[in-house]
């Protein structure tokens, strides 16, 4: 949704300033090596928009996602959620904020307890809120399942009985139970077949227009990122090397990395001369 212009005067949902995440490795010789996986990243995401972060594996995208979802503590820099600096909060307050930022992972198969059925998976976050009785939870779960395109009849199914696309829908439904403001999708479409990706991408678009969801879409699939995003940030080795609207990135890529990524997108047309001819 191109609402970014009108929303610029609104507060960004999340504002990251100079985020650094490093891991220390002690080698056998006793030398301490510091690996900066995220090396000074800054950006803002405004409500109802999608920021796509693209890059190769090892560029630090997933670590960035973990830091924003408060699953990892940043080494330095600040993360402001709706103006509040998360790093300065006490654990209890941080937990409340954490609910507002939900993370969807790549692997639909491993995101769920394989022994729980759909209803139980949906009920777990609802139960955490603590103020609903069983029937209310069930109704709410059905409503959310309906929103993501899963029929309430599926409540008794196990994750193994669902398709990859259905599992990802379930992951999104589960994330929605806590009414998050920001949804971080870490390669959430990458493990799906092409036709499934389209379905889930459409669902995301719909949720954005109906609920005003804000997305951080992390992927190495540039084509899908361009399709979904209002802004794109290209990440390499922990840094953002280029940042701009999809149009600008496509038409005037400034960085070598961006150009490489663009070149690596497989196209359906026949530009290569090595096609065997009769």
């Amino acid at each position: 949704m191109k609402t970014s212009d009108s929303n610029k005067d609104m507060q960004p949902v999340i504002k990251v300033g100079n985020l650094v995440k490093s891991y220390a490795k002690t080698r056998l010789t006793g030398k301490r090596e510091e690996m900066r996986v995220v090396d000074g990243v800054s950006f803002s995401i405004f409500p109802g928009t999608t920021l796509a972060v693209v890059g190769e594996s090892g560029s630090g995208k997933s670590t960035l996602a973990l830091c924003l979802a408060c699953l990892e503590k940043a080494t330095s820099g600040d993360i402001r959620f709706e103006g509040i600096d998360i790093g300065k909060l006490a654990e209890k307050e941080r937990r409340t904020i954490r609910r507002k930022i939900q993370l969807i992972f790549q692997d639909p198969a491993n995101s769920f307890n394989p022994r729980w059925n759909v209803l139980e998976i949906m009920s777990e976050p609802l139960a955490l809120q603590g103020n609903l009785i069983r029937d209310e939870m069930r109704l709410r779960a059905h409503a959310l399942l309906d929103q993501v395109g899963l029929s309430p009849e599926m409540e008794g199914r196990l994750p193994a009985e669902l398709s990859g696309g259905q599992r990802q829908r379930l992951a999104i439904a589960r994330a929605l139970t806590l009414e998050p403001k920001l949804l971080i999708l870490d390669e959430a479409l990458s493990a799906l077949d092409c036709s499934m990706q389209a379905q889930i991408a459409n669902l995301l678009v719909e949720l954005q227009s109906s609920r005003g969801m804000t997305y951080l879409f992390i992927s190495h699939d540039l084509a899908m990122a361009v399709h979904l995003a209002d802004e794109i940030a290209v990440m390499s080795r922990g840094r953002i090397v280029e940042h701009g609207s999809p149009d600008k990135i496509l038409k005037q890529p400034q960085s070598e990395i961006t150009r490489e990524l663009l070149a690596a997108v497989p196209r359906m047309t026949f530009a290569l001369p090595e096609v065997r001819r009769p």
Partner: protein, 340 residues
């Protein structure tokens, strides 16, 4: 290349592989079976690259393993024939199969992280393949192993040979799988989603490796993928697989540029394309195919794609379409193209 016909009416002359009406089912326990492959037929010429386009549930991995007779334990019922250099592999005894596997026909598995032995050095794993096919003697074996590794790894070959799979990157592991596949100089390599878990730049690299190998070794390949864009400029022909059946088969240009089967068409439409190419990408909603292709979602009778098809007709519900020759090279399985 003489465009060989899919072999429904005539025998394939000069082809190295001919799959005839292959049907493979898996037992699901409790008496139920799932038909993974439901009558697959095609031919492959020497040196040709056939791309098999299939999503999950289409039976593509079953096709890959069935050609080599690698069946899992759970009650597999197979019929049809897989003719390789005159012999039917489905009827071959275990010794014959073992001789052919890895030496004449190789299989590159999905998921390189799972297809390699976790606690064996990768050099050893390549060596084992060579040793299994008659190469014996320490020095000659080591020498040949080194040579094979050098065709896929241009530098650091020694260090990589002594590494374990978990110490290598995804792209490196994929190269090891390729090395294992070409070690004994096969004439046919079947690659099952060889680029699925890699990021785009590595994907392109890998395709380059395959192209180079094809040029230098004259390999025939069956390249299985769910991403049609990878086949552009790479394969000679494309076979589209849905629910264990061939729904479309033709030259790559034909199938990718002018797809005829409703599934193929909807599939291509649902893939986001970078703007600047001939499609209106200003709309946020991608035309997607509703539903899914899991076994439980398939209809009991009629065309398997019917429930999800935007162009379905009444006959599609009750009867299964046969194959229609659209041209000398292009066939499709859809009632829309059948002339009464």
């Amino acid at each position: 290349m003489s465009a060989s016909l899919s072999c429904f009416n005539m025998a394939c002359m000069g082809s190295i592989l001919e799959v005839r009406d292959l049907r493979v089912a898996y037992g699901l326990g409790g008496g139920d079976t799932h038909q993974a492959l439901d009558g697959i037929s095609f031919c492959l010429e020497s040196g040709e690259v056939l791309g098999i386009l299939g999503e999950s549930g289409s039976g593509k991995s079953t096709l890959a393993t069935s050609i080599l007779g690698l069946f899992r334990g759970n009650a597999v019922v197979a019929s049809g024939a897989v003719l390789f250099e005159g012999r039917d592999l489905l009827q071959a005894n275990p010794d014959e199969l073992q001789r052919i596997r890895g030496k004449h026909i190789s299989l590159i598995f999905q998921e390189p992280s799972m297809a390699l032995h976790p606690t064996m050095q990768v050099g050893q794993q390549v060596r084992q393949v060579l040793a299994a096919h008659g190469m014996n003697g320490g020095v000659a074996l080591n020498q040949k192993t080194r040579e094979v590794l050098e065709t896929v790894f241009t530098e650091n070959t020694e260090r990589i040979a002594r590494s374990y799979p978990h110490q290598l990157s995804g792209g490196q592991r994929q190269r090891v799988l390729i090395a294992q596949a070409i070690a004994c100089g096969p004439c046919l390599v079947i690659a099952d989603e060889p680029t699925a878990s890699l990021d785009p730049t590595t994907q392109m690299e890998m395709l380059g490796v395959f192209r180079a190998l094809r040029r230098s070794l004259g390999l025939a390949m069956i390249f299985i993928t769910h991403n049609p864009a990878l086949l552009a400029g790479f394969s000679d022909r494309v076979l589209v697989l849905y629910a264990g059946r061939v729904v479309e088969l033709g030259l790559t240009e034909e199938v990718l540029s002018w797809p005829k089967h409703p599934y193929t068409r909807s599939l291509f439409q649902s893939i986001p394309v970078l703007p600047g190419e001939p499609r209106d990408a200003s709309q946020k909603k991608l035309p997607s195919i509703p539903g899914d292709s899991r076994p439980s979602s398939l209809p009991e009778a009629g065309c398997p794609f019917e429930p999800r098809c935007s162009e379905r007709m009444d006959t599609c519900k009750s009867q299964e379409p046969g194959l229609v020759n659209l041209s000398e090279t292009h066939v499709v399985s859809c009632f829309r193209y059948e002339k009464s």
